[in-house]
Point group: C2
Chain length 259, copies 2
């Protein structure tokens, strides 16, 4: 889940897509790679100074299986939380070996550990990224099969898309040739403004295959739910936020994914 | 202009505050430290691959005076643009000497160069930061007298404020003891929701002296203006966006600033 433009709905999409997929019976692991820890908060996963988190996995090489916790609200949805020391990781990772591949390696170790102990592996791993193209996001792009890009119907969003596509191209060329753009999702869509319609048209023109037909309208319930430590799927299950994220999750799950 | 939470209105506040102050007759320099280059776009300052920008100043040590350009729309408002190579600066700066103080040094050189050639120095230098607490933002916090914090009436905003205050405290303790919180501004305020009112009340309770009385309402004109390469001050001068930023600029300018 990546877009270096801030506030476009990366975290909101990551947690609600993960919840919708888990409610459909799939196993989902959400990795919170944003030092802000918003996804950990939204899923009510404790991430205080004394909790283990993804920082301990990336920098101190603890096994990922040790830090994941199940979301109290939604069985089948697990989360590797972000703790406050992750803020220093961008600078600390610069001096470490395999600095861009650490996340890829720990996910592979997780899958082989689960395989050995005959436990089911997650069907989806969703990685929430910070609004930047630094080493934390780079680790996610190297580890991922696909990039999921939430985008707001705003002018700055178009500018950002070019820079993001350039970075994805660089990663494909050197570190992860199989990386594909899995989906682009229009978020916080306000039907009343021309600007949103113009941006949506522009994005559909450039990326006809990647843009999902489903879009997410602006909805207060979506922005209230994290203050109750819930996803909108349990906070307001019949509202427009939950319905639109459920439709987007189903449309995405039925796409023919990168093998 | 800093807040590591994404999409809270840092750039919108930086360009419109700068424009309002310049229209009141003050000299203003806006430094775009965000690799996205949104502030440079909003002020119609060219920032292509062959333009000089703040990257060339920070990493290649070109004088700041060589890269600033005047905003075509608003006399007295100058901008040091962000170019695409700034995206690599966070990693490149890690290995350089004085990596956190480079911006402070170049601004001091600018002031002494202007002083020697008897040219007027800017009354305000406004630095637009990216949504992170890495070396680019750190450079801004070390160079600045005050931090101006735009904040949205959203739940994740409160979580972000604690992390930001901790970082400001660290900078005050070691690199810039005179750094103060100059102002906190509530942006994209939507009067219809409880959430926005609750967040505003919480912020005013914790920071009664810093929060400006002026707030910025949500307004489509504000988000349309950058697509015309204009600030809202010239795009829609009598609309709510321009009026509210002009009021915020006047309230801020009349505060008793850090000497
Ligand atoms: N469809 C929506 N309707 C209303 N509010 C929304 C919607 N989607 C997201 N929000 C709110 O908008 C803000 C930005 O969303 P979010 O934090 O998910 O974006 P982000 O891209 O993860 O931000 P960052 O760049 O800081 O990581 C949040 O306060 C969120 O609650
Ligand atoms: N008062 C407002 N009313 C309506 N839209 C606004 C308002 N303020 C900002 N916006 C829009 O909201 C989006 C986010 O604002 P902006 O880009 O200024 O935030 P930012 O904090 O600089 O983001 P980033 O974290 O990516 O640097 C932009 O598309 C902008 O046009
Ligand atoms: Mg986020
Ligand atoms: Mg910005």
């Amino acid at each position: 889940m990546s877009n270096q433009k801030g506030g476009v709905g990366k975290t909101t999409t990551a947690v609600n897509l993960a919840a919708a997929l888990a409610q459909d019976g799939l196993g989902v692991l959400l990795i919170d790679m944003d030092p802000q820890g918003n996804a950990s908060t939204a899923l009510s996963i404790s991430h205080d100074d004394d909790d283990l988190g993804i920082y301990d996995v990336l920098v101190d090489e603890r096994p990922l299986i040790r830090v994941v916790k199940e979301c109290p609200d939604i069985p089948g949805l697990w989360c590797a939380p972000s703790t406050v020391d992750l803020a220093g990781a961008e600078i600390e990772l610069v001096g470490l070996t395999h600095r861009e591949r650490r996340l890829k390696q720990v996910i592979e170790h997780l899958y082989s550990a689960l395989d050995r102990s005959r436990r089911p592996a997650p069907d989806y791993v969703i990685i929430d990224c910070p609004p930047s193209l630094g080493l934390l996001t780079l680790n996610a792009l190297v580890a991922a099969d696909e990039v999921f890009i939430p985008i707001q119907g705003e002018y700055y969003a178009l500018e950002g898309l070019t820079a993001l596509m350039r970075t994805i191209g660089l990663v494909q060329a050197s570190m992860n040739p199989d990386l594909a753009v899995g989906a682009i999702l229009l978020t916080m869509v306000d039907g009343r403004t021309n600007l949103a319609a113009q941006v949506a048209e522009e994005v559909r023109r450039h990326f006809p295959r990647e843009v999902l037909r489903s879009t997410i309208p602006r909805s207060v319930r979506l922005s209230e739910s994290p203050s109750f430590g819930q996803t909108v799927m349990t906070y307001d299950p019949t509202g427009t936020g939950a319905l639109s994220y459920r439709a987007a999750a189903r449309e995405y799950a039925h796409r023919d994914h990168a093998a």
